[in-house]
């Protein structure tokens, strides 16, 4: 994959992640996940994990190494 294609793919992934940031979830009387985790909190932690993957992608492949 060319660098340009990879950059496009990266920014598409960023846009998707930013769009999903707008999603919000209520508990609606459901039990907490694992007995302690509210649904929205679980979603946010998953979101953070996805963001972390993007950060490692960015720093590992897209950010030039030579200082």
């Amino acid at each position: 994959m060319s660098r340009r294609s990879e950059l496009v793919l990266f920014w598409v992934a960023v846009a998707i992640l930013l769009a999903t940031h707008m999603l919000r979830f209520g508990q609606a009387g459901q039990p907490l996940w694992f007995g302690w985790m509210p649904v929205d909190f679980g979603f946010r932690l998953a979101w953070v994990a996805a963001a972390t993957v993007l950060v490692f992608w960015m720093t590992g492949r897209l950010w030039p190494d030579r200082g």
Binding site: L18, R24, Q27, G35, W36, M37, V55, P64, G67
Partner: protein
């Protein structure tokens, strides 16, 4: 009385360690401006990360966020924490990295100095200094006010807000004015460790004391189920949610004290590693902060308005012994001092480098800077003792103001056609619209003032640049030249 003696002993031990680190840094610092303000541009991964991260750890997180979560619940985590995990590394890459290259190549020590060189206009440096000053002082006020509140609660009223805030300012002044950037970065490594360590320890111990994580969370759900529901209260409607995401993701790179620390990086690897460390560190920082606020509703119900800013120290007081209470004060002091030192040093360096006449020699610059640090500290203290609005409210005004600088920071490094007229229009229009929107002189249409301020800053930048004469290529090349050279080197 004995409990108080233990708390004070722990805090004194913390102060002694900080001052020792500051003294060692002072002995290593030479009297050149580059060394005093930049620590010799030698910060490697761990020191740089802790210095940057320390700047993120403020009473806004430790006091303001639990206070907000107390009223609004789990939604506060998504509202504030998640987006910065992506926003901070992205802005470090897009703005921080080229700014680091250009600052190193031009010998710039402050953001205002770098952008004044970019446009060949010292007056633009004054304007940037003014904008940064206006938004940094309130942010410093939230920091010092937060620690004053915490000490007031944890000393059970024996040390008041005025005394506590004066004490922290004096200690911070000593090591910052003597040791400069090196002292602030080295102490930040220790302070970040103290803060994170205590925060996690308190999280585990308080949860255990409340019957365990599952027990307390289920009790919250039973008593106040609204804290786990999707909130449509004023800060959380769709437009406001998107606006705040914009604010909190973009604001950090525009903190002048953050940008200066980016300049101090030894190499790009240090910057990249700092980005990699951020996600985990932010989770460790924010999860306890939000959950403390939520748990507090069970333990101490009925707090109204900004009273909830006290919820974290109140929980500490109820659940931890005097040694850990002393450590709590030390960790809050660490949170405050790690930001306050950077803010004091950066404002003073901007004054001496960007505002005062250039003929002043470097030794005199350092001395004037040390004096100016004292003046800023006194101004901050005088505002703090007036007991301003809630920490979240004051901090959100500062964050919004910094966001209006982002178009200038980005376009100044990445758009050759960007002119000093465009940059000036961007700052003036962005801040005028932000202020008008904040005062509700303009219809919000569901968005927060920061979104309108940012849009106005972008329009001002583009229209002002296209309607004005291009910058002399030789002037722009001073800053943009090193960036082009770097891009060419990488593509070969």
């Amino acid at each position: 009385m004995q409990a108080n003696a233990i708390r004070i002993a722990v805090v004194v031990a913390y102060f002694v360690i900080v001052l020792i680190i500051g003294a060692v840094a002072y002995r290593r610092t030479t009297a050149t401006a580059e060394d005093y303000f930049m620590g010799g541009r030698s910060a490697r991964s761990l020191v740089l990360f802790m210095a940057l991260f320390g700047t993120n750890i403020t009473p806004f997180v430790l006091m303001g966020i639990p206070g907000l979560a107390y009223h609004h619940g789990i939604v506060v985590f998504g509202h504030n924490a998640a987006i910065v995990v992506l926003g901070i590394p992205l802005t470090f890459w897009l703005i921080g990295y080229p700014a680091w290259i250009a600052a190193k190549a031009t010998g710039s020590l402050t953001p205002a100095e770098l952008y004044a060189k970019r446009f060949g206009s010292r007056r633009f440096g004054w304007l940037m200094f003014a904008v940064f000053f206006v938004y940094t002082v309130p942010y410093m006020v939230t920091a010092v006010f937060g620690v004053g509140l915490a000490v007031d609660v944890l000393s059970e009223g024996q040390i008041g807000l005025a005394e506590a805030s004066a004490g922290i300012l004096v200690i911070t002044l000593i090591y910052t004015s003597l040791g400069g950037m090196r002292a602030t970065m080295w102490t930040n490594v220790f302070q970040g460790g103290v803060f994170l360590g205590f925060s996690l320890l308190a999280f585990v111990l308080i949860a255990r004391d409340l019957g365990g994580l599952a027990t307390i969370m289920q009790e919250v759900q039973q008593r106040t189920p609204a804290l786990f529901e999707r909130s449509e209260a004023p800060p959380f409607q769709t437009g406001a949610w998107a606006s705040w995401a914009l604010a909190i993701a973009l604001t950090v790179i525009a903190f002048p004290h953050m940008m200066v620390r980016v300049f101090a990086a030894a190499d790009p690897t240090a910057l990249k590693n700092a980005c990699r460390f951020y996600p985990l560190a932010m989770v460790l920082l924010w999860v306890p902060a939000v959950l403390f606020g939520i748990w507090g509703t069970v333990e101490i119900p009925g707090l109204v308005g900004k009273q909830s800013d006290r919820i974290f120290p109140l929980l500490v007081l109820n659940h931890l012994g005097p040694t850990l209470q002393g450590l709590a004060v030390a960790s809050i002091l660490a949170a405050v001092m790690s930001t306050l030192d950077a803010q004091l040093l950066t404002l003073s360096s901007m004054l001496t480098r960007d505002v005062l006449p250039t003929r002043i020699d470097e030794r005199m610059q350092v001395r004037i800077s040390q004096l100016f640090v004292v003046v800023i500290a006194v101004i901050t203290w005088l505002i703090v003792i007036q007991e301003p609005a809630s920490i979240f409210t004051v901090a959100s005004l500062s964050f919004s103001g910094y966001v209006t600088v982002v178009p200038t920071l980005l376009l100044g490094l990445r758009w050759a056609r960007f002119t000093v007229v465009g940059a000036t229009c961007s700052l003036l229009l962005g801040n005028a619209v932000l202020l008008a929107s904040w005062l509700e002189w303009l219809p919000s249409l569901g968005l927060l003032p920061v979104a309108w301020g940012l849009m106005a800053a972008i329009v001002g930048a583009v229209v002002g640049s296209l309607l004005s004469r291009p910058t002399d290529p030789a002037v722009a090349a001073v800053v943009l030249g090193p960036l082009r050279d770097r891009a060419a080197k990488i593509s070969t």
